[in-house]
């Protein structure tokens, strides 16, 4: 009975993964349409398909997580496999939630890819049968501490995707600014040519003039051009990271309370605790810098990316290769 439920959960996860692949392809089609010069304000049917399949995938994954919990007879976030299910679900759910308020379809490819790859790794490497947990994990703090940790991971993950988009966009913005000053010098000459071509051929003149104002409208630059301004993305990433930092702080404090109950000390510099602390400090420095310094926005993006890489290292590397008191991932 229980293992049947566990199998159903796994099947649903396969379904969710398939949905994310379809979504990824659909979003990629959408993006490549932008790349070949489709007008920005057209009906983006492919992106619509991508969003629908994302919703489908998130729904399937949600059911899979619930069924997993029923099969194991406990909350479904007690090992690395289940942790992955949770945080990828949060990444996708927060993305979809954001999309209902503003247009973040530009993140579609990245989010669906992240979700798919993480689930792939979970199913292939981290999978364990749905089962009970060892005595150390039998605590209501498992419910509190780990669920908020998955939420924090999801938030920083999504913020990191936005930071990458921001960096790409900022690079092209800088190029546009420098190209803009070059174009100013060149535009004098173009204007003369256009006026020399006389009013009768103004249609051709504009046709000629258009590419010349955007001298390098390549596939990539059109895609980047369709991204929102990098300053906006930076602001969005900051807000996600701020919430993520609060969630991470909560994880840390709740973890210390649990450690006090289970191991008789709130803090013991176990490898996992050390990494969690380092991540907390990185994000604290990020928030601190953002509030008190007038750095260029790109620096913040690098900061946030370093933070998320540390989060990934804390999960994949520390759990598997470092032995410590958190070594009950079941791998």
């Amino acid at each position: 009975m229980n293992s049947d439920l566990g199998d159903i959960s796994t099947l649903l996860i396969y379904g969710a993964m398939a949905s994310y692949v379809v979504a990824m392809i659909a979003f990629a089609v959408d993006v490549s349409a932008l790349g070949v010069g489709a007008p920005k304000d057209r009906r983006r049917r492919a992106a619509g398909i991508g969003l629908s399949t994302m919703w489908l995938g998130a729904g399937l994954q949600f059911v899979a997580i619930v069924v997993r919990g029923l099969a194991a007879g406990r909350v479904p976030w007690a090992n690395m496999y289940e942790f992955t299910l949770m945080f990828t679900f949060f990444v996708v759910a927060i993305f979809l939630g954001l999309q209902t308020r503003r247009d973040v379809r530009y993140l579609g490819v990245a989010v669906s890819m992240l979700a798919f790859l993480a689930l792939m790794l979970a199913v292939a490497v981290l999978y364990v049968e749905a089962d009970g947990v060892q005595p150390a994990l039998r605590s209501y703090w498992l419910v509190i501490h780990v669920s908020v940790a998955t939420l924090a991971t999801g938030l920083s993950g999504l913020a990191a995707m936005i930071s990458i988009a921001q960096l790409v966009k900022a690079r092209s913005e800088r190029a546009t600014v420098s190209a803009g000053s070059a174009a100013m010098a060149a535009s004098g000459a173009t204007a003369e040519v256009t006026s020399g071509a006389a009013g009768g051929t103004s249609a051709t003149a504009t046709a000629v003039a258009e590419p010349s104002t955007q001298p390098s409208a390549t596939f990539g630059s059109r895609i980047v051009g369709s991204l929102p301004p990098s300053a906006n993305m930076e602001r969005l990433a900051y807000r996600l990271n701020a919430v993520g930092f609060v969630a991470w702080t909560f994880t840390l404090v709740a973890g210390a309370v649990w450690a006090e109950h289970a191991w008789g000390r709130p803090w013991g510099w176990d490898p996992k605790e050390t990494w969690t602390f380092v991540i907390w400090v990185i994000y604290a420095a990020y928030l601190h810098a953002r509030v008190t310094t007038g750095w260029a926005a790109e620096k913040f993006a690098y900061f946030a990316l370093v933070g998320f890489m540390a989060v990934l290292a804390n999960f994949y590397i520390v759990n598997i290769f470092f032995s410590g008191k958190h070594s009950y991932a079941g791998v």
Binding site: Q134, A136, A242, V246, G264, D270, T293
Partner: protein
């Protein structure tokens, strides 16, 4: 601020080595192993404090500097903030055009009436100052304008200060806890009792302000120990049933579980380990009982609780030829095809057996050097051998099941495996700082949330009597940091005027 940022990043960097090198505080055995595995580098690393990163001078220097810089930054800010809390909201700026968020409206009624309505619309969250100012209009007439300056969100700065001060508090109480705490570790066999006193613990460490009179005099007896495993040997539950005798002589029984420590008045008792303690009786060559008692065998990494242990019999043969046994306990003995025991098949004692090597000689207990109770020091001992039929000599291996007895060769005596009680390992910890840590951590968290999510906003309004008996309202708003809701907030306040005349517009601002 730059310094604080630098120190924060430095703190992240200096904390990391502790995740890569084993630490004495969390895993002393791994440190010993590191010394054995890398003898040429271990001493160098040790002199750089890489095995005690979190107590090292360089780590301490970074966090102490960070806290000094934090206090140096926070104290003046607290002062300024306290002054601001008492101060009135700032004057209305003369020109609104330099603000991004502005609004305009025309409303029926005198400026006083309109101001009263706006004042009400601002709500309780805003502190405000109502004033009037004289100015000249474009055509040179003097005119009196009424103003409102309102601000909200002092909680943002308060939260920020509380967060930082709570971190200082956390550091201080942690240091205090380190000074006054004590912690003892003890292994108790079923039926035995331990007293909360330094001598009764197997290991005991204290802070430098520890006073023995602070130790609560209670007794704990281990009545029972139960464990639960799945069919594939995964632990599911451990329960130690204990009887606690408290200071006033009252007794009560309790279950101690992982995650559920036993609490006395100010001390907590944690279940940290468990295993089996086979009870042996050893008689020596003269037939005297030289040893009788339960000996805890330490579980190995084996999920099926194959455990290593040592029986030392210093009193055998008048102490001349001391006996020592080392070997393994198998809770559920598994044999290969030839009947040799090869391991344990299950963590519960379904078919327990011990396999022991026999040593004779000097146990080395009398020279005063502390010894590991779980390791036999065989430097001055000789392994007892037996001669097989084909003349080859092989070490004697004693295999015993509960109730069985074996005669040792060479008239050394007998050993009997009486029965198999369990043992539990407890940590007894007194640390009065824990509660305060919780308080400060909670304060820090609340302060953090306030400092990140409470909006800090200012709204200014100027009201001038218009030509047609209506009032012309102009307003501006300013926030600290990103505040996407600012325009919405200003629109909300001005919306009370909209009922009479739709006049706000972002277009003509």
């Amino acid at each position: 601020m730059r310094v604080a940022l630098l120190l924060l990043l430095l703190l992240a960097v200096v904390a990391l080595p502790g995740a890569f090198f084993p630490q004495r505080t969390s895993d002393p055995n791994a440190v010993q192993q590191y010394f054995l595995d890398h003898p040429d580098t271990a001493d160098l690393l040790d002199s750089l404090h890489l095995f005690d990163v979190y107590a090292s001078p360089w780590f301490s220097a970074v966090y102490l500097l960070l806290f000094v810089s934090l206090i140096g930054c926070i104290l003046p800010r607290t002062w300024v903030h306290l002054k601001n809390l008492r101060a009135e909201p700032s004057r209305v700026p003369s020109r609104f055009t330099r603000f991004d968020v502005r609004g305009q409206a025309r409303a029926a009624g005198t400026p006083e009436q309109v101001r009263r309505r706006l004042d009400a619309a601002l709500g309780r969250r805003y502190r405000r100052r109502l004033a009037s100012e004289r100015g000249r209009t474009a055509d040179g007439e003097t005119r009196t304008a009424l103003t409102i300056s309102a601000e909200r969100g002092f909680g943002r700065e308060t939260g920020n200060l509380v967060f930082h001060l709570a971190l200082v508090g956390l550091l201080v109480v942690t240091a205090w806890g380190q000074l006054v705490h004590y912690r003892g570790q003890v292994v108790v066999v079923q039926g035995d009792t331990f007293v909360n006193a330094p001598l009764d613990f197997d290991s005991f460490d204290t802070g430098s302000w520890y006073g023995a009179d602070a130790q609560e005099p209670f007794r704990v007896r281990l009545d029972s120990f139960e464990s639960e495993f799945t069919v594939d040997s995964q632990a599911r539950d451990f329960v130690a049933g204990v009887t606690l005798t408290e200071t006033d002589g009252s007794t009560r029984t309790a279950d101690v579980r992982v995650n559920h420590p036993l609490e006395t008045d100010d001390t907590r008792i944690y279940l940290t380990g468990n295993g089996f303690a086979p009870r042996f009786t050893v008689t020596d060559g003269s037939g005297e009982v030289a040893f009788s008692g339960a000996v805890p065998f330490l579980p190995t990494a084996d999920p099926n609780y194959a455990s290593n242990g040592v029986v030392m019999v210093p009193d055998a043969n008048g102490g001349e030829r001391q006996l020592g046994f080392n070997g393994v306990l198998l809770p559920t003995a598994a044999a290969d095809e030839e009947g040799n025991l090869i391991g344990s098949a299950y963590p519960q004692p379904l078919d327990p057996a011990v396999v022991l090597n026999v040593w004779v000689g000097d146990l080395g207990l009398d020279n005063g050097v502390p010894q590991n109770l779980y390791l036999l020091d065989t430097t001055d001992m000789e392994q007892v051998l037996t001669t097989a039929e084909d003349g080859t000599e092989a070490p004697v291996q004693v295999v015993l099941r509960p109730g069985e007895s074996v005669e040792l060769p060479d008239g050394l005596g007998t050993i009997t495996f009486e029965d198999l009680p369990r043992f539990a390992a407890f940590d007894v910890r007194y640390d009065p700082s824990i509660v305060w840590m919780g308080v400060f951590a909670g304060l820090a968290f609340a302060g953090l949330v306030a400092s990140l999510f409470l909006p800090r906003r200012r709204i200014w309004v100027r009201l001038v009597a218009g030509a047609d008996g209506a009032t012309v309202v102009s307003a501006a708003a300013l926030a600290r940091g990103d505040d996407p809701g600012l325009q919405r907030e200003l629109d909300r306040v001005l919306a009370v005027l909209e009922s009479d005349q739709a006049a706000t517009s972002k277009e003509d601002r």
